[in-house]
Symmetry: C2
Subunit: 188 residues, 2 copies
DNA sequence: AAGATAATGTGTACAATGTCAACAATCGCA
DNA sequence: TGCGATTGTTGACATTGTACACATTATCTT
Protein backbone atom coordinates (compact mmCIF):
# COMPACT_ATOMS: atom_id res chain seq x y z
CA UNK A 1 0.00 0.00 0.00
CA UNK A 2 2.80 2.42 0.87
CA UNK A 3 4.48 1.55 -2.39
CA UNK A 4 1.44 2.46 -4.41
CA UNK A 5 0.07 5.45 -2.55
CA UNK A 6 2.50 6.66 0.05
CA UNK A 7 1.77 7.19 3.73
CA UNK A 8 -1.89 8.08 3.24
CA UNK A 9 -2.49 4.79 1.50
CA UNK A 10 -1.37 2.80 4.51
CA UNK A 11 -4.80 1.96 5.78
CA UNK A 12 -5.25 -0.25 8.76
CA UNK A 13 -8.41 -2.03 7.73
CA UNK A 14 -7.05 -2.91 4.32
CA UNK A 15 -3.95 -4.35 5.96
CA UNK A 16 -6.01 -6.65 8.13
CA UNK A 17 -8.12 -7.58 5.14
CA UNK A 18 -5.04 -8.68 3.24
CA UNK A 19 -3.82 -10.52 6.30
CA UNK A 20 -7.15 -12.32 6.36
CA UNK A 21 -8.06 -11.23 9.85
CA UNK A 22 -10.61 -8.92 11.38
CA UNK A 23 -9.97 -5.17 11.53
CA UNK A 24 -9.37 -5.11 15.24
CA UNK A 25 -6.70 -7.77 15.16
CA UNK A 26 -4.30 -5.01 14.12
CA UNK A 27 -4.64 -3.46 17.54
CA UNK A 28 -2.90 -6.46 19.08
CA UNK A 29 0.21 -5.48 17.16
CA UNK A 30 0.08 -1.73 16.78
CA UNK A 31 -1.22 0.86 19.20
CA UNK A 32 -2.96 2.70 16.41
CA UNK A 33 -2.65 3.58 12.75
CA UNK A 34 0.26 5.89 13.52
CA UNK A 35 2.28 3.08 15.02
CA UNK A 36 1.62 0.91 12.00
CA UNK A 37 2.70 3.73 9.73
CA UNK A 38 5.92 4.22 11.67
CA UNK A 39 6.75 0.56 11.32
CA UNK A 40 6.13 0.73 7.58
CA UNK A 41 8.23 3.88 7.42
CA UNK A 42 11.15 2.10 9.02
CA UNK A 43 10.98 -0.65 6.44
CA UNK A 44 10.75 1.90 3.66
CA UNK A 45 13.91 3.55 4.96
CA UNK A 46 15.58 0.18 4.75
CA UNK A 47 14.60 0.00 1.08
CA UNK A 48 16.02 3.46 0.56
CA UNK A 49 19.26 2.28 2.12
CA UNK A 50 19.31 -0.64 -0.30
CA UNK A 51 18.89 1.69 -3.29
CA UNK A 52 21.72 3.85 -2.01
CA UNK A 53 24.01 0.90 -1.38
CA UNK A 54 23.53 -0.18 -4.99
CA UNK A 55 24.94 3.10 -6.29
CA UNK A 56 27.66 3.16 -3.67
CA UNK A 57 28.70 -0.36 -4.62
CA UNK A 58 28.99 0.77 -8.24
CA UNK A 59 31.69 3.28 -7.44
CA UNK A 60 33.34 1.29 -4.67
CA UNK A 61 33.42 -1.76 -6.89
CA UNK A 62 35.49 0.14 -9.40
CA UNK A 63 38.09 -0.04 -6.63
CA UNK A 64 38.83 3.64 -6.82
CA UNK A 65 41.08 5.92 -8.78
CA UNK A 66 43.76 5.86 -6.14
CA UNK A 67 43.01 9.48 -5.31
CA UNK A 68 41.14 9.63 -2.02
CA UNK A 69 39.57 13.02 -2.81
CA UNK A 70 38.21 11.90 -6.18
CA UNK A 71 36.92 8.69 -4.67
CA UNK A 72 35.24 10.48 -1.80
CA UNK A 73 33.50 12.84 -4.19
CA UNK A 74 32.31 9.96 -6.33
CA UNK A 75 31.03 8.20 -3.25
CA UNK A 76 28.99 11.16 -2.08
CA UNK A 77 27.54 11.58 -5.55
CA UNK A 78 26.59 7.92 -5.53
CA UNK A 79 24.81 8.38 -2.21
CA UNK A 80 22.81 11.28 -3.59
CA UNK A 81 22.14 9.54 -6.85
CA UNK A 82 20.88 6.48 -5.05
CA UNK A 83 18.64 8.56 -2.82
CA UNK A 84 17.07 10.30 -5.78
CA UNK A 85 16.83 7.12 -7.82
CA UNK A 86 14.82 5.67 -4.96
CA UNK A 87 12.60 8.73 -4.89
CA UNK A 88 11.87 8.36 -8.57
CA UNK A 89 11.53 4.60 -8.73
CA UNK A 90 9.54 4.25 -5.55
CA UNK A 91 7.85 7.55 -4.83
CA UNK A 92 5.31 5.95 -2.52
CA UNK A 93 7.97 4.26 -0.41
CA UNK A 94 10.14 7.37 -0.50
CA UNK A 95 7.40 9.51 0.97
CA UNK A 96 6.56 6.84 3.48
CA UNK A 97 10.20 6.67 4.48
CA UNK A 98 10.94 10.35 4.82
CA UNK A 99 7.66 12.18 5.33
CA UNK A 100 6.74 10.57 8.60
CA UNK A 101 7.79 12.70 11.56
CA UNK A 102 10.60 11.25 13.63
CA UNK A 103 13.62 12.30 15.66
CA UNK A 104 17.13 12.59 14.29
CA UNK A 105 18.33 10.40 17.14
CA UNK A 106 16.37 7.48 15.68
CA UNK A 107 18.20 7.70 12.37
CA UNK A 108 20.57 4.99 13.53
CA UNK A 109 17.87 2.59 14.57
CA UNK A 110 18.62 -0.87 13.20
CA UNK A 111 15.00 -1.19 12.10
CA UNK A 112 15.73 1.43 9.46
CA UNK A 113 18.77 -0.36 8.08
CA UNK A 114 18.99 -1.98 4.67
CA UNK A 115 20.29 -5.43 3.86
CA UNK A 116 23.85 -4.22 4.31
CA UNK A 117 23.09 -3.18 7.88
CA UNK A 118 23.35 0.59 7.41
CA UNK A 119 20.58 3.15 7.61
CA UNK A 120 20.35 5.87 4.96
CA UNK A 121 21.74 8.36 7.43
CA UNK A 122 24.70 6.15 8.22
CA UNK A 123 25.49 5.70 4.56
CA UNK A 124 25.53 9.45 4.09
CA UNK A 125 27.63 9.90 7.21
CA UNK A 126 30.22 7.46 5.99
CA UNK A 127 30.53 9.29 2.69
CA UNK A 128 31.11 12.56 4.52
CA UNK A 129 33.67 10.93 6.78
CA UNK A 130 35.52 9.96 3.63
CA UNK A 131 35.43 13.61 2.54
CA UNK A 132 36.89 14.68 5.83
CA UNK A 133 39.54 11.99 5.70
CA UNK A 134 40.49 13.03 2.19
CA UNK A 135 40.87 16.59 3.38
CA UNK A 136 38.25 18.06 1.04
CA UNK A 137 35.91 18.96 3.88
CA UNK A 138 37.48 21.34 6.42
CA UNK A 139 37.00 20.00 9.95
CA UNK A 140 34.99 23.02 11.03
CA UNK A 141 32.48 22.24 8.31
CA UNK A 142 32.17 18.55 9.03
CA UNK A 143 29.72 18.97 11.91
CA UNK A 144 26.16 18.24 10.84
CA UNK A 145 27.18 18.26 7.20
CA UNK A 146 24.77 15.36 6.79
CA UNK A 147 21.88 17.71 7.28
CA UNK A 148 22.94 20.09 4.55
CA UNK A 149 23.68 17.52 1.90
CA UNK A 150 20.53 15.66 2.84
CA UNK A 151 18.42 18.80 2.59
CA UNK A 152 19.47 19.44 -0.98
CA UNK A 153 18.68 16.02 -2.36
CA UNK A 154 15.62 15.56 -0.20
CA UNK A 155 14.20 18.85 -1.36
CA UNK A 156 14.61 17.95 -5.00
CA UNK A 157 13.04 14.58 -4.40
CA UNK A 158 10.02 16.00 -2.62
CA UNK A 159 9.47 18.82 -5.09
CA UNK A 160 9.55 16.39 -7.96
CA UNK A 161 7.42 13.63 -6.47
CA UNK A 162 4.95 15.42 -4.30
CA UNK A 163 5.16 19.12 -4.98
CA UNK A 164 5.15 21.86 -7.55
CA UNK A 165 7.76 20.13 -9.72
CA UNK A 166 5.63 17.11 -10.42
CA UNK A 167 5.61 16.16 -14.04
CA UNK A 168 9.06 17.44 -14.83
CA UNK A 169 10.44 15.47 -17.74
CA UNK A 170 12.86 12.66 -17.03
CA UNK A 171 15.70 14.57 -18.66
CA UNK A 172 14.93 17.64 -16.61
CA UNK A 173 15.09 15.55 -13.46
CA UNK A 174 18.34 13.95 -14.56
CA UNK A 175 19.81 17.35 -15.18
CA UNK A 176 18.54 18.78 -11.93
CA UNK A 177 19.94 15.82 -10.02
CA UNK A 178 23.39 16.35 -11.48
CA UNK A 179 23.26 20.09 -10.86
CA UNK A 180 22.07 19.74 -7.28
CA UNK A 181 24.92 17.32 -6.64
CA UNK A 182 27.34 19.80 -8.23
CA UNK A 183 26.02 22.46 -5.91
CA UNK A 184 26.47 20.26 -2.86
CA UNK A 185 29.94 19.28 -3.96
CA UNK A 186 31.02 22.88 -4.39
CA UNK A 187 29.16 24.29 -1.45
CA UNK A 188 29.47 21.80 1.33
CA UNK B 1 -7.65 23.95 8.95
CA UNK B 2 -4.59 23.91 6.70
CA UNK B 3 -2.84 26.18 9.17
CA UNK B 4 -3.40 23.80 12.05
CA UNK B 5 -2.99 20.43 10.42
CA UNK B 6 -1.63 20.76 6.91
CA UNK B 7 -3.15 19.28 3.77
CA UNK B 8 -4.69 16.28 5.50
CA UNK B 9 -6.62 18.56 7.81
CA UNK B 10 -8.38 20.27 4.96
CA UNK B 11 -11.62 18.39 5.26
CA UNK B 12 -14.52 19.21 3.07
CA UNK B 13 -17.33 18.59 5.50
CA UNK B 14 -15.76 20.69 8.20
CA UNK B 15 -15.36 23.53 5.74
CA UNK B 16 -19.05 23.48 4.92
CA UNK B 17 -19.86 23.25 8.60
CA UNK B 18 -17.89 26.42 9.28
CA UNK B 19 -19.53 28.08 6.32
CA UNK B 20 -22.86 27.15 7.84
CA UNK B 21 -24.07 25.17 4.85
CA UNK B 22 -24.72 21.53 4.14
CA UNK B 23 -21.87 19.19 3.19
CA UNK B 24 -22.84 18.93 -0.43
CA UNK B 25 -22.92 22.66 -1.00
CA UNK B 26 -19.17 22.41 -1.44
CA UNK B 27 -19.68 20.51 -4.66
CA UNK B 28 -21.18 23.62 -6.24
CA UNK B 29 -17.79 25.32 -5.87
CA UNK B 30 -15.22 22.54 -6.06
CA UNK B 31 -15.25 19.40 -8.16
CA UNK B 32 -14.03 17.35 -5.24
CA UNK B 33 -11.83 17.52 -2.19
CA UNK B 34 -8.73 17.66 -4.34
CA UNK B 35 -9.91 20.80 -6.07
CA UNK B 36 -10.62 22.44 -2.73
CA UNK B 37 -7.20 21.47 -1.51
CA UNK B 38 -5.55 22.94 -4.58
CA UNK B 39 -7.33 26.23 -4.03
CA UNK B 40 -6.18 26.29 -0.42
CA UNK B 41 -2.68 25.40 -1.56
CA UNK B 42 -2.63 28.41 -3.88
CA UNK B 43 -3.58 30.71 -1.03
CA UNK B 44 -0.95 29.15 1.19
CA UNK B 45 1.66 29.85 -1.47
CA UNK B 46 0.56 33.45 -1.39
CA UNK B 47 1.22 33.51 2.35
CA UNK B 48 4.64 32.02 1.73
CA UNK B 49 5.30 34.79 -0.74
CA UNK B 50 4.33 37.34 1.90
CA UNK B 51 6.77 35.84 4.40
CA UNK B 52 9.50 35.95 1.83
CA UNK B 53 8.76 39.52 0.82
CA UNK B 54 9.11 40.57 4.46
CA UNK B 55 12.71 39.34 4.57
CA UNK B 56 13.46 40.70 1.13
CA UNK B 57 12.12 44.10 2.15
CA UNK B 58 14.46 44.03 5.15
CA UNK B 59 17.55 43.91 3.00
CA UNK B 60 16.20 46.02 0.15
CA UNK B 61 15.06 48.64 2.62
CA UNK B 62 18.62 49.05 3.82
CA UNK B 63 19.10 50.49 0.32
CA UNK B 64 22.08 48.32 -0.36
CA UNK B 65 25.78 48.48 0.20
CA UNK B 66 26.44 49.87 -3.21
CA UNK B 67 28.07 46.64 -4.26
CA UNK B 68 25.71 44.73 -6.54
CA UNK B 69 27.28 41.37 -5.76
CA UNK B 70 26.97 41.81 -2.00
CA UNK B 71 23.41 43.03 -2.38
CA UNK B 72 22.45 40.14 -4.61
CA UNK B 73 23.84 37.67 -2.13
CA UNK B 74 21.97 39.29 0.71
CA UNK B 75 18.79 39.22 -1.32
CA UNK B 76 19.03 35.51 -2.07
CA UNK B 77 19.73 34.81 1.58
CA UNK B 78 16.68 36.81 2.49
CA UNK B 79 14.57 34.76 0.10
CA UNK B 80 15.79 31.54 1.66
CA UNK B 81 15.44 32.87 5.18
CA UNK B 82 11.88 33.96 4.50
CA UNK B 83 11.01 30.60 3.01
CA UNK B 84 12.30 28.75 6.03
CA UNK B 85 10.81 31.22 8.48
CA UNK B 86 7.47 30.48 6.88
CA UNK B 87 8.07 26.76 7.18
CA UNK B 88 8.79 27.12 10.89
CA UNK B 89 6.11 29.66 11.74
CA UNK B 90 3.38 28.09 9.67
CA UNK B 91 4.23 24.44 9.15
CA UNK B 92 0.67 23.56 8.27
CA UNK B 93 0.43 26.22 5.59
CA UNK B 94 3.91 25.41 4.36
CA UNK B 95 3.04 21.81 3.76
CA UNK B 96 -0.25 22.79 2.20
CA UNK B 97 1.58 25.19 -0.08
CA UNK B 98 4.36 22.95 -1.26
CA UNK B 99 3.30 19.34 -0.73
CA UNK B 100 0.39 19.37 -3.11
CA UNK B 101 1.33 18.06 -6.53
CA UNK B 102 1.36 20.67 -9.28
CA UNK B 103 3.21 21.61 -12.44
CA UNK B 104 6.16 23.96 -12.61
CA UNK B 105 4.35 25.91 -15.31
CA UNK B 106 1.72 26.94 -12.76
CA UNK B 107 4.31 28.54 -10.51
CA UNK B 108 3.56 31.91 -12.05
CA UNK B 109 -0.18 31.69 -11.58
CA UNK B 110 -1.49 34.92 -10.06
CA UNK B 111 -3.58 32.89 -7.63
CA UNK B 112 -0.33 31.89 -5.92
CA UNK B 113 0.93 35.45 -5.55
CA UNK B 114 1.31 37.32 -2.29
CA UNK B 115 0.13 40.81 -1.51
CA UNK B 116 3.03 42.25 -3.48
CA UNK B 117 1.88 40.42 -6.59
CA UNK B 118 4.73 37.94 -6.87
CA UNK B 119 4.61 34.19 -6.39
CA UNK B 120 7.30 32.49 -4.33
CA UNK B 121 8.89 31.19 -7.50
CA UNK B 122 8.98 34.67 -9.00
CA UNK B 123 10.60 36.09 -5.90
CA UNK B 124 13.32 33.48 -6.09
CA UNK B 125 13.75 34.04 -9.80
CA UNK B 126 14.24 37.75 -9.30
CA UNK B 127 16.94 37.17 -6.71
CA UNK B 128 18.79 34.89 -9.10
CA UNK B 129 18.46 37.43 -11.90
CA UNK B 130 20.19 39.87 -9.59
CA UNK B 131 22.98 37.33 -9.14
CA UNK B 132 23.36 36.99 -12.86
CA UNK B 133 23.30 40.76 -13.33
CA UNK B 134 25.96 41.19 -10.67
CA UNK B 135 28.12 38.64 -12.45
CA UNK B 136 28.33 36.23 -9.55
CA UNK B 137 26.35 33.54 -11.37
CA UNK B 138 27.96 32.47 -14.64
CA UNK B 139 25.41 32.57 -17.47
CA UNK B 140 25.74 28.86 -18.15
CA UNK B 141 24.68 28.17 -14.59
CA UNK B 142 21.74 30.52 -14.54
CA UNK B 143 19.34 28.13 -16.29
CA UNK B 144 17.00 26.45 -13.82
CA UNK B 145 19.06 27.69 -10.91
CA UNK B 146 15.74 28.25 -9.15
CA UNK B 147 15.29 24.52 -8.86
CA UNK B 148 18.62 23.94 -7.15
CA UNK B 149 18.38 26.71 -4.62
CA UNK B 150 14.77 25.82 -4.00
CA UNK B 151 15.62 22.16 -3.44
CA UNK B 152 18.09 22.96 -0.70
CA UNK B 153 15.82 25.14 1.41
CA UNK B 154 12.75 23.08 0.69
CA UNK B 155 14.50 19.93 1.78
CA UNK B 156 15.56 21.42 5.06
CA UNK B 157 12.06 22.72 5.67
CA UNK B 158 10.41 19.40 4.98
CA UNK B 159 12.89 17.38 7.00
CA UNK B 160 12.42 19.67 9.96
CA UNK B 161 8.64 19.98 10.01
CA UNK B 162 7.48 16.72 8.53
CA UNK B 163 10.31 14.27 8.50
CA UNK B 164 13.13 12.66 10.42
CA UNK B 165 14.49 15.98 11.65
CA UNK B 166 11.39 16.86 13.60
CA UNK B 167 12.14 18.11 17.05
CA UNK B 168 15.49 19.62 16.22
CA UNK B 169 16.17 22.44 18.65
CA UNK B 170 15.55 25.99 17.50
CA UNK B 171 19.26 26.76 17.60
CA UNK B 172 20.04 23.71 15.55
CA UNK B 173 17.53 24.82 12.95
CA UNK B 174 18.95 28.33 12.95
CA UNK B 175 22.40 26.94 12.42
CA UNK B 176 21.28 24.54 9.73
CA UNK B 177 19.46 27.33 7.92
CA UNK B 178 22.57 29.47 7.83
CA UNK B 179 24.75 26.59 6.72
CA UNK B 180 22.40 25.47 3.99
CA UNK B 181 22.32 29.04 2.68
CA UNK B 182 26.12 29.10 2.82
CA UNK B 183 26.18 25.93 0.79
CA UNK B 184 23.81 27.33 -1.82
CA UNK B 185 25.80 30.55 -2.00
CA UNK B 186 29.07 28.73 -2.57
CA UNK B 187 27.70 26.00 -4.75
CA UNK B 188 25.16 27.58 -7.02
C1' DA C 1 0.18 -33.08 33.07
C1' DA C 2 -2.71 -29.19 34.51
C1' DG C 3 -3.95 -24.93 35.23
C1' DA C 4 -2.87 -19.93 35.12
C1' DT C 5 -1.54 -16.13 32.27
C1' DA C 6 -0.46 -13.76 28.30
C1' DA C 7 -1.16 -13.41 23.29
C1' DT C 8 -4.05 -12.97 19.64
C1' DG C 9 -8.43 -12.79 17.15
C1' DT C 10 -13.71 -11.84 16.69
C1' DG C 11 -18.19 -9.18 16.83
C1' DT C 12 -20.65 -5.32 17.38
C1' DA C 13 -20.88 -0.53 17.47
C1' DC C 14 -20.13 4.51 16.65
C1' DA C 15 -18.65 8.80 14.71
C1' DA C 16 -16.43 10.83 10.75
C1' DT C 17 -15.45 11.39 5.93
C1' DG C 18 -15.99 11.78 0.65
C1' DT C 19 -19.33 11.45 -2.69
C1' DC C 20 -23.65 10.34 -5.48
C1' DA C 21 -28.57 11.31 -6.91
C1' DA C 22 -32.72 13.77 -6.78
C1' DC C 23 -35.05 17.82 -5.49
C1' DA C 24 -35.77 22.93 -4.07
C1' DA C 25 -34.96 27.72 -3.86
C1' DT C 26 -33.05 31.84 -5.60
C1' DC C 27 -30.96 35.17 -8.77
C1' DG C 28 -30.07 37.44 -13.27
C1' DC C 29 -31.48 38.50 -17.52
C1' DA C 30 -34.26 38.49 -21.98
C1' DT D 1 -42.97 37.46 -16.56
C1' DG D 2 -40.68 33.50 -17.13
C1' DC D 3 -36.67 30.66 -17.90
C1' DG D 4 -32.01 29.03 -17.19
C1' DA D 5 -28.15 29.01 -14.32
C1' DT D 6 -26.42 29.07 -9.77
C1' DT D 7 -26.46 27.51 -5.24
C1' DG D 8 -28.24 24.83 -1.50
C1' DT D 9 -30.75 20.75 0.81
C1' DT D 10 -32.03 15.86 2.11
C1' DG D 11 -31.04 11.30 2.14
C1' DA D 12 -28.11 7.64 1.33
C1' DC D 13 -23.91 4.61 0.96
C1' DA D 14 -19.27 2.77 1.38
C1' DT D 15 -15.08 3.40 3.89
C1' DT D 16 -12.19 4.46 7.74
C1' DG D 17 -10.23 4.57 12.67
C1' DT D 18 -11.20 2.95 16.99
C1' DA D 19 -13.51 1.49 21.59
C1' DC D 20 -15.54 -2.41 24.37
C1' DA D 21 -16.58 -6.94 25.51
C1' DC D 22 -15.83 -11.64 24.63
C1' DA D 23 -13.53 -16.01 22.73
C1' DT D 24 -9.69 -18.68 21.60
C1' DT D 25 -5.13 -20.25 21.53
C1' DA D 26 -0.07 -20.29 23.18
C1' DT D 27 3.08 -20.40 26.53
C1' DC D 28 4.98 -21.03 30.90
C1' DT D 29 5.00 -22.41 35.64
C1' DT D 30 4.08 -25.54 39.18
Amino acid sequence: MAQLGGPDAVVLREATRRAGVSPNAAYRHFADRGALLRAVSDIAQGRAADAMEVEVACVSGASGTGDAATDARAMLRAVGTGYLAFARDEPGLFRTAFSVPDQLANSFDAAKAGAAGRTPFQILSAALDAWAAAGILPPERRANAELYAWSAVHGLGMLVIDGPLRGLSAQMIDGATARVLDMVERGL
